[in-house]
């Protein structure tokens, strides 16, 4: 039981030392004394309030500040107990309860801070106070005057409380709790000044709690921001490539990956124009992608700090950031992928080359089969027939005739056979010795060989050799010039001065020889498939034997080149030889 003994004479720190122990109830008759007393009391109260307020404002430790504040006010008002209750959070429909958080005790009353009844105390047990407090109004009560059935009265009486004063604490228009004063010594009436000081302190507490809550919110928000930042960093660093945030190229932030890729440090990269990571020739392309908001991955070259380059895949996306659109861009080193692609391409090219080579070889085999079929079998068939004619006749005259034909047929077989062997030699002998040959000198030599025919036809032969020489087998180059020139002289138009032009030039690194004339030309629609075949002629011309172009084609192809013909009837002919066409494989 709390003792009913007189409160100890006790000076509150910093309060007026002259303040003395006074009778509990002021007598109205002693007005003057009362006035003095009230002034003194006011002094003490104000000074205590000031200190208690300062505590709440300046002491960073909320518990100490509250403890000190309650003590200061308790001592100044000479009550027996000062305490702070905080309402417990209640869901809708749940009973509102309140718990005691702090208590100061004069020593007269029993401390209640450990009283379990004062934790989670339902307001319906103290409903007289609740009805006022929740409306932000104080509750002032002489306990003996309370309704006898009141549960609240019983609680107060159990603690020997004679007089009670409660001030609500509202934080942000929300009923947070209350601060209370107990008087156990007598049935105390509260003076206006006490009333307003306590009221003021409750407002200070409310402000402090509000501030504390805001600080807490800020702290939580900061913490969350920090964690979010941390998470972002972790994600960024965990990424296998580089990630950068940039505003029209200027890097706002990036991860370590981008540093690793580019060789620039993080510090160097921030504020850096990311376009400088791209070689100058690709910058416009990349800037167009940025400006247009392109959001698909694309490949580009990247320029490292040390000037080296590598294959980069860029994947950018525009996102809103602090009121404007910026780009998040992912950078990925795709050197390996590129190399793999390159390898596949190379292998593909090689396979194509092999396929082309096989096709050429197959074409050649077919060509040989054709030659054997037509050019060798035909005269042999004739020989067989002539032999049986020879045997069947007795007439010497006829026999002589057949013998002559037999001789001619054998010569034909022999000629074809020699030509075939010559072509086979050309095809086999791909390692024939090459030497540096001047086109001009070769042409001059061939012109001398044809001097008589050139003179007779009055042919004009011109040359424009942009490429002056070539590394080639001498006899082949001479043979090519010979066959082309011979062809043009042979198929000239009557009554037109033949004009024959030889040219050489480079095309994609290949050396090209071109011959064009103003002769009869060839109807390629009709004869295109036969131009380079053995023993094919397209003109009813005495000298046409059809061997020259066949040899030329074989020589050119054996050396890795290609020959093409362009012509129309009566519009001359153009032969184009690419010496290197198939030499790359």
């Amino acid at each position: 039981m709390p003792a009913k003994k007189q409160p100890k004479k006790k000076q509150s720190s910093g309060s007026n030392p002259k303040s003395k122990r006074k009778p509990a109830v002021l007598k109205k008759s002693a007005a003057k004394q009362s006035l003095l007393h009230e002034l003194e009391l006011r002094d003490i109260l104000f000074s205590s309030l000031a200190q208690a307020t300062r505590e709440l404002l300046l002491n960073p430790d909320w518990s100490t500040a509250m403890g000190n504040g309650l003590r200061l006010l308790g001592e100044a008002t000479k009550v027996d107990r000062v305490y702070l209750f905080e309402n417990n959070p209640a869901k809708k429909g749940e009973e509102l309860t309140t718990s005691q958080r702090f208590e100061w005790n004069s020593g007269t009353a029993l401390p209640q801070i450990n009283n379990p009844d004062l934790q989670n105390l339902p307001y319906f047990l103290v409903k007289e106070s609740y009805e006022l407090l929740r409306l932000n109004r104080p509750f002032v009560q002489i306990v003996s005057k309370m309704d006898r059935d009141s549960s609240f009265k019983k609680i107060l009486e159990d603690e020997d409380i004679k007089s009670v004063l409660l001030f609500p604490i509202f934080v942000s228009d929300h009923f947070w709790g209350f601060i209370g004063f107990d008087e156990c010594k007598y049935e105390r009436e509260w003076s206006d000044i006490e009333f307003s000081v306590l009221s003021s302190y409750s407002a200070t507490i409310s402000g402090a709690i509000n501030r504390k809550q805001i600080e807490k919110k800020i702290e939580t928000a900061l913490q969350q921001a920090l964690e979010s930042e941390q998470r972002f960093r972790t994600l960024q660093q965990a990424s296998f490539g580089g990630i950068g945030l940039h505003d029209k190229g200027v890097i706002i932030d990036c991860n370590q990956g981008l540093s690793d890729l580019t060789g620039y440090s993080y510090e160097e990269l921030i504020g850096f124009n990311g376009l400088q990571l791209i070689p100058p020739e690709h910058r416009k392309f990349v800037m167009d992608k940025i400006v247009s908001g392109y959001d698909q991955p694309y490949d580009i070259e990247c320029l490292r700090k040390d000037g080296t380059r590598f294959a980069l895949e860029v994947h950018g996306k525009s996102i809103p950031y602090m009121g404007k659109m910026i780009r998040v861009t992912e950078f990925r080193d795709v050197t390996e992928r590129k190399e793999a692609e390159e390898k596949i391409r190379e292998q593909n090219t090689r396979l194509l080359d092999i396929a082309n080579d096989l096709k050429r070889k197959n074409d050649q085999l077919e060509e040989f089969a054709q030659i054997v079929s037509h050019n060798l079998r035909a005269p042999i068939g004739n020989i067989l027939s002539l032999i049986s004619f020879y045997e069947e006749t007795d007439k010497g005259e006829e026999r002589e005739e057949y013998f002559g034909l037999l001789k001619a047929s054998s010569h034909a077989v022999n000629n074809t056979f020699h030509e075939l062997v010559e072509v086979l030699k050309i095809r086999q002998n791909i390692n024939i010795e090459r030497q540096t040959l001047s086109f001009e000198a070769t042409l001059d030599k061939i012109k001398k060989m044809f001097a008589a025919k050139i003179n007779e036809s009055q042919a004009v032969i011109k040359s424009e050799f942009q490429v002056i020489s070539i590394n080639y087998p001498n006899i082949y180059l001479e043979s090519i010039f010979l066959n082309l020139l011979s062809n043009s002289l042979k198929y000239r138009k009557k009554n037109v001065t033949p004009l024959i032009i030889f040219k050489t030039y480079q095309e994609e690194g290949d050396i090209i020889l071109e011959l064009s004339d103003n002769g009869l030309g060839i109807d390629l629609d009709k004869y295109g498939h036969q131009v380079f075949k053995l023993n094919k002629t397209f003109h009813l011309h005495a000298e046409a034997r059809g061997i020259g172009l066949f040899i030329t084609k074989n020589q050119v192809e054996a050396m890795g080149g290609e020959i093409k013909v362009f012509s129309k009837t009566n519009e001359g002919v153009t032969f184009v030889i690419n010496f290197n066409k198939n030499a790359h494989s």
């Binding site: 037509h374 035909a378 005269p379 068939g381 027939s385 002539l386 036969q530 023993n535 002629t537």
Partner: protein, 136 residues
């Protein structure tokens, strides 16, 4: 259509003069005709056919065509013949004659709608007689 008592006119189109000589003597030996026309290439033959269209006595009934010839070869002849055959006034049976055993040539000839058959050189008397008999 020729009357049964008249012997057919036969044309040889081949650039090989020795083959033409052998073939004409063989045909004569078979006693199947008295009239053999000779052309050294497809162009010459076409010129003759066009120039004598309607003159049934002058046009051949059977034509032996070589494949491999300079200028207009056997295939080109067939392309051009297709265009003029309706103007000739007389059907002409065409046999392709070649030394080639190349299946590409053989199949192409056998599948050609204008070609009656494909014959490999050398051609015997009996074969000539049989082919001309087939065309009759």
């Amino acid at each position: 259509m020729r009357t049964p008592d008249r012997k057919p006119v036969i044309a040889l189109v081949d650039d090989d003069s020795i083959f033409r000589l052998i073939a004409s003597r063989t045909i004569q030996g078979a006693n199947i005709t008295e009239r053999i026309l000779q052309f050294t290439n497809g162009g010459e033959a076409l010129e003759y056919l066009e120039g004598n269209s309607g003159q049934l006595d002058l046009l051949p009934d059977v034509l032996f065509l070589d494949i491999n010839m300079p200028y207009v070869d056997g295939w080109m002849f067939l392309d051009d013949f297709e265009k003029i055959k309706s103007k000739l006034g007389k059907p002409i049976s065409i046999f392709m004659v070649s030394s080639s055993l190349d299946p590409e040539d053989v199949n192409r000839a056998k599948q050609h709608k204008l070609v009656n058959d494909y014959v490999v050189k050398p051609v015997s008397k009996e074969t000539f007689a049989k082919l001309v008999g087939m065309a009759a």
